[in-house]
């Protein structure tokens, strides 16, 4: 029985989206830490009364669609929905209870109208620090999740409107910056309150039943559109593999493999060929891996499909426990984004065979994290964390973009002038790397170089890179993009560093030079039109 007209449905859909956007603004306005407000590492979502997301304001693809998986894990395995009362807020950051990695705290609040649960609102924030063996809960050398920080199983931080001060006290006792934790948690609570009020107002205006019906129809609509999209893809099995360099502890490459089977309007993604879980923190839980799968499939859609839980219904993911994409407790998972990036490039490589022309060659596929701790004359400390990017892959009809944030992450760089005005560091160069884009009829985007010089007596350097051994692939005869590199330049001599650097001591005058990978090319290099080749040479995109 349908009581909602098409116009009413569209208006409710927009209203749910607007509610998620207002929750988003609330987090931004009220959060404390730089991670949340300046790196914008958070997302907000609205779920139907059973936990399927119907609207979201996601800023980072890695968060996309993962909150619903998290919430469903919580209610199915830990805290059934019949125990959720009006005014409760349930939180967790446990990767083994639906989370991604320990710094991300998920917080959910049910919305009740006249005693009936009509929806759930949720937020995800990356917190500055959740304890563990390294600041920021990001230990490159962790081999167990116990080293990565405080784990909070699904628990009620707020019970019927009353703050659970015992839980909060325990959390604050275990982190490096309790003021920041509590500040950002308050932002999450404020955002949930805004979302709750919005949904309640909506339900009171149109009636709770209509709101519930609208949620169901929104999910059904996206499912229909998704099925139609998959239906337009030729049936078949499409397999592809790509590699991660290493886990930072052992030296072996890690295989990431996906076999996508399209059958009518359904798709099965078999990740059984992925390598076993790693000793180091380059592992992902199923919630993390699922979001990379969703990202890749939704990215190839030939028509705009409203992203929500209805989109996942035609997709089955097979991922054996104990593999890098479905880590078994207590494997460490802090660097799950590395797995996310590589899953995305692998899935896209497989889907290229299914829908040729729609998928570009591989992007750089890594968050190049570089961090410096400076130690001044009087022992004063300063910290700089930067995330760099590389070139994107070429499309069938367009060159890749140079130094452009792509795929699973989305972050900004930091102005050299800001760094130099705050820290004893000088940037000695920042530019595109000539010739780093994969050759092809369409050329891959260029990677970049960035150089930091140490202007204080001492500094400690840590880096988390990838693509130092396994280059971003080209397609249809296009060549791979250039590999990434990291150099220490000391007293005029250049020394190669690995992709993962742990606490390297630096002294005054040392220069660290990062070179990021370029994107893959598309089509045979000899088919590149002469005019474009001339342009490449004129602009030194290609040397010579």
């Amino acid at each position: 029985m349908s009581t909602l007209g098409p116009v009413e449905l569209e208006i409710l859909r927009n209203a749910l989206g607007a509610a998620a956007a207002e929750m988003d603004v609330t987090v931004w306005r009220t959060s404390r830490s730089t991670v949340v407000r300046e790196l914008l590492d958070y997302s907000t979502a609205i779920f139907d009364r059973d936990g399927y997301n119907v609207a979201q304001s996601a800023r980072i693809p890695q968060h996309l669609n993962s909150m619903s998986t998290g919430l469903l894990t919580v209610v199915r395995e830990h805290l059934p929905l019949d125990q959720w009362q009006e005014g409760d807020v349930v939180i967790t950051n446990d990767p083994y209870c639906g989370g991604q990695h320990i710094p991300d705290i998920l917080a959910f609040r049910p919305v009740f109208v006249a005693g009936t649960r009509v929806a759930i609102v949720g937020t995800l924030c990356h917190h500055l620090d959740m304890g563990g063996m390294a600041a920021g809960s990001y230990a490159a050398t962790a081999t167990e999740i116990f080293q990565e920080g405080l784990r909070i199983p699904p628990l009620k931080l707020v019970r019927g409107g009353a703050l659970n001060t015992d839980l909060l006290a325990m959390m604050k006792q275990n982190v490096r910056r309790p003021d920041m934790l509590w500040g950002d948690l308050q932002a999450q609570l404020a955002s949930l309150a805004v979302g709750e009020a919005n949904i309640r107002r909506l339900a009171e205006r149109v009636g709770a039943e209509k709101l519930v019906e609208a949620c169901a129809r929104i999910l059904d609509g996206s499912e229909r559109a998704m099925r139609a999209m998959i239906g337009r893809i030729p049936d078949g099995r499409y397999a592809f593999e790509d590699f991660l360099d290493d886990d930072g502890i052992t030296d072996a490459p890690i295989r990431v493999h996906a076999a996508v089977t399209v059958r009518g309007e359904e798709m099965e993604v078999d990740l059984s060929g992925c390598g076993p879980q790693a000793l180091g923190p380059v592992n992902a839980t199923l919630a993390s891996s699922g979001s990379a799968v969703s990202y890749a499939i939704m990215a190839i859609a030939d028509q705009e499909i409203p992203p929500n839980a209805g989109c996942y219904r035609p997709i089955t993911v097979i991922a054996p426990e104990g593999s890098i994409v479905h880590a078994r407790h207590p494997a460490p998972v802090a660097n799950r984004i590395a797995v996310g990036h590589r899953l995305a490039t692998t899935l896209l490589g497989a889907l290229h065979q299914a829908v040729p022309g729609r998928v570009p060659a591989a992007y750089y596929g890594v968050s190049y994290v570089c961090s410096f701790q400076t130690i001044g004359e009087a022992g004063e400390r300063g910290v700089l964390v930067e995330i760099e990017v590389g070139g994107t892959g070429a499309h069938a009809d367009a060159d890749g973009l140079s130094a452009y944030t792509y795929g699973m992450h989305n972050n900004s760089n930091i102005p050299a002038e800001m760094i130099e005005s705050e820290l004893p560091l000088t940037l000695t160069g920042y530019g595109l790397l000539d010739g780093s884009g994969g050759a092809g009829r369409q050329r891959g985007g260029l990677g970049l170089f960035r150089e930091w010089r140490i202007d204080c007596p001492e500094a400690v350097f840590t880096a988390n890179g990838e693509r130092f051994r396994h280059a971003p692939y080209g397609l249809e005869g296009g060549e791979p993009g250039a590999l990434g590199h990291l150099w220490l330049i000391r007293d005029g001599a250049r020394q190669a560093l690995g992709s993962k650097v742990n606490n390297l001591r630096l002294k005054r005058g040392d220069i660290i030079r990062l070179e990021t990978s370029g994107g893959g090319g598309y089509g045979l290099p000899q088919d590149r039109p002469a005019a474009l080749q001339a342009m490449d040479r004129r602009l030194r995109y290609v040397p010579g």
């Binding site: 116009v7 207002e22 693809p61 404020a190 609509g221 559109a225 992203p307 570009p360 050299a416």
Partner: protein, 688 residues
Amino acid sequence: MPDPAASPAPHIRIGIDIGGTFTDLQILDERSGALHSLKTPTTPEDPSIGLMTGLRDAATRFRFTLSDIRLLLHGTTIATNAVLERRLPQGVLLTTAGFEDVLEIGRHTRRDIYGLKPRHEPPLIARDCRLGVAERMRADGSAEMPLDLGQVAPMLARIDALGAQVVAICLLNAHVNAAHEQALAEAIQAARPALPVCLSSEISPEIREYERSSTTVLNALLMPVVGAYLDRLRARMAEAGLAARLLLVQSNGGVCSPEMAARQPARLLLSGPSGGALATLRMAQALGRPNLLGVDMGGTSFDICVVREGAVTQMTQGEIDLLPVRLPMIEIRTIGSGGGSIAMVDAAGRLRVGPRSAGSRPGPVCYGRGGVEPAVTDANLALGRLDPRFFLGGAMALDRAAAEAAIGERIGTKLGLESAAAAEGILAVTDTSLAAAARLSLFEKGLDPRAFSLLSFGGAGGLHAIPVAEELGVPEVIFPADASTFSAFGILHSDIVHDLARSRVLPASTESLPHVTGALAELRAQGDALLAADGVPEAERHLGVSADLRYRGQAFELVVPWPEGMELPALLEAFHALHAQRFSYANREAPVELVALRVTATGRLPRAMVHRTAGAGADRAPEPRGVWLKGAWREVPVYQREQLGGPVQGPALIEEEYTTIYLAEGWRCAPGAEGTLVAQRIAEGTAA
């Protein structure tokens, strides 16, 4: 030339707003206070042609001569359009060696997170036209590597070979010490006196190299464009015997001299909506409504500005076509929703409205110019809200049957709705998205819509304002006179404004005071000199100081007003309070940093009293007509705005020459001060 002896002293002030379709004029007789308005088609190939046509028409219609015009305040999108259409000259950018690619790398963050193929334009100056200069300034203003002028000669050869028409210079840390930029510019200008040079330390002396480079490059490339336009305009003015003083509208809402506009054209880049914001501010002052939400709905867009506690909200950076412009400007939120926005049912069966627009060519289906996809205006017409015989005061007949047919066929059939219900759906979807955008503009500042009145203008605003207000919970809607030329009204009342800044990261503590005091004295002297050069008498000059402050470690700043005589502790307290209001907390223990000092130099132009006159159509007696309301046709009274004497209740339509107001049921409307109409929601239970 008219004989000066036969004419009175120049006494006509004209505000001109050149839009995509129409050039709007408001004409004020400063002696009598009489105010008139006029619209004339825009001439996109050279907007100064349409401008002169408008001036001549106005002179004939309102009986003055061109030599009577004393002041011409001109809003122009010439700079904006040149960038959007990439009609820009060849330029060269000089950067610190090793940083030539900063312009191309940008700041990374992307908007469309799902798209595999993001929209991305090549940089405005290509890689081979960006030349590195061996030199290096440090963040403290000391030179790590001096500038060797020996490199200028080969550089000039390269500039010549590239055929550059303009040179932009943006060196690292030049906002702290501009000596290298200045020395480079002097050497280039000595050798090539005709080649324009633009320095980052002059146009945008603020920290953050990418944003400063982007602003500098935009400014440099626009110098020849805006310069040529102003030359053409001044030639046309001289030819017509027009000796009026010309001032150009900037993005900050103030006006500037043509000389300044030619030198710093980036200041005009986002001036399009600033006339509307200024007009909103004037009305807020005139009507005693300190909290006013201004919404301007035209053919293609819906612009929102906020006047809060009597001041229009400003920001220190905007963008055009994803390119940052680091200059102070009025804060405007724009969404692609207007009368020309196209409605469609997408592949997933959803009713979508905008952001695609039918524009003015072909325009909505009802224009009969070949448009086939129904637009918002078609829906308003189909439901009886617009009178097909009185559009633009009757200047353009609309085809209602064609609009109904297109809506029925392209929307109704696909959604299983009758044509009227489908048209109502288009309006409902439009109104809720307008309201959501307006709500967000308030919400992100922590403001409550119930404390605001809505001011509606723009040709399409009247039909949507009350539904939007209903949706927002705003209890009052104000419709100014001449809503369709309201931006020109704002321009008519603008002042000369120069924004100056000095940027250097310093602790906001007493040890920095000597530096701060010195920098402020320089900025003030500079502002005062600029106003003097503009011929502003001393009594009309006003210098406002503000400081960009942040907690150490933050990546953005808050602009805090710093009135004369305020001591540093009071400034810091004002920062904590503003931070708490905007971000819900303050940290009085944390160290505060000063990132920039700003001086806004305002030269007040003489205020003139205004006395409005009725527009065309005032003698009309419109008849009631059938309007589709909540699923049924109802006979609804129609009023001519100029004849409205007392309050009327909705549902009703109120028509004027260029716009129609839809007064919904539950609302009452009556003439207010300043020629406005004021609609208020009738309190529950009191509806007659």
